[in-house]
Amino acid sequence: MAYQVNGATIEHDEEGYILTLSDWSKELADVIAETEEIDMNEEHWEVVNFLREYYEEYQIAPAVRVLIKSIKKSLGPEKGNNKYMYELFPYGPAKQACKIAGLPKPTGCV
């Protein structure tokens, strides 16, 4: 199973998460988003970029409530809320946005 990006083959798992995190690129994000039936616009990118920065700094993908709280702080309350997030990523910001951002699959712990 793999994504095709600019002639390169990027392997992913059963659920579409890439296997090698360093394979990620903006072009790949667009391809993953397409398979998720998401048309990436500026708002989507805001969240994806936020997630990548969070991961870069703390080495974890934030829990959804932490993501929403942090977005609220940096982008304002009209974006830092559940409704807005689920409008952008209907199948869940943790799952879909992390997948597009090329972060590890959440272990689904709770």
Binding site: Y54, E57, Y58, Q59, I60, P62, A63, K69, C109, V110
Partner: protein
């Protein structure tokens, strides 16, 4: 904090990387944070090595999870107790630890330190004053 919240203490007495306990302890803390209990973390004995700054794992090919401690504030985990005697016995001081902070909701989101250095007898008091102790 809800009134029926229990006091949970995570006791960390092991160094990172040699074994997985430190990492998997941190994973419990991050997941457990969703339950809105009254959470504290204790670092004593070799557990104090978990919080040292300057960890670089590139040479051993293992993920460096020390930056993740700095995310604890986002998870509303902001009581990290580090035992002074344990630091001293290992030739460490608070300056050898990374800075970990949280934003205090009750004080106009002021940034405050999460790490509290406590004496052994204060640590004993903290341990005794819990509902649940999880040891790693």
């Amino acid at each position: 904090m809800e009134n029926d919240a229990k006091r949970f203490l995570y006791v960390n007495r092991k160094a990172p990387y040699g074994t997985i306990y430190a990492l998997e302890s941190l994973e419990v803390v991050l997941i457990g944070a969703a339950f809105e209990q009254n959470v504290s973390l204790a670092f004593l004995d070799d557990g104090v090595f978990q919080l040292t700054k300057g960890q670089d794992t590139q040479g051993i090919g293992v993920k460096n999870f020390s930056p993740t401690y700095r995310a604890l504030g986002d998870y509303d985990v902001n009581k990290l107790y580090v035992e002074k005697e344990s630091l001293e016995e290992r030739g460490l001081s608070v300056d050898d630890l990374q800075e970990i902070t949280y934003e205090d909701e009750d004080d106009d989101w002021e940034e405050k330190p999460s790490i509290n250095i406590v004496s052994r007898s204060e640590m004993a008091d903290i341990m005794a004053n819990q509902d649940v102790v999880l040891s790693f």
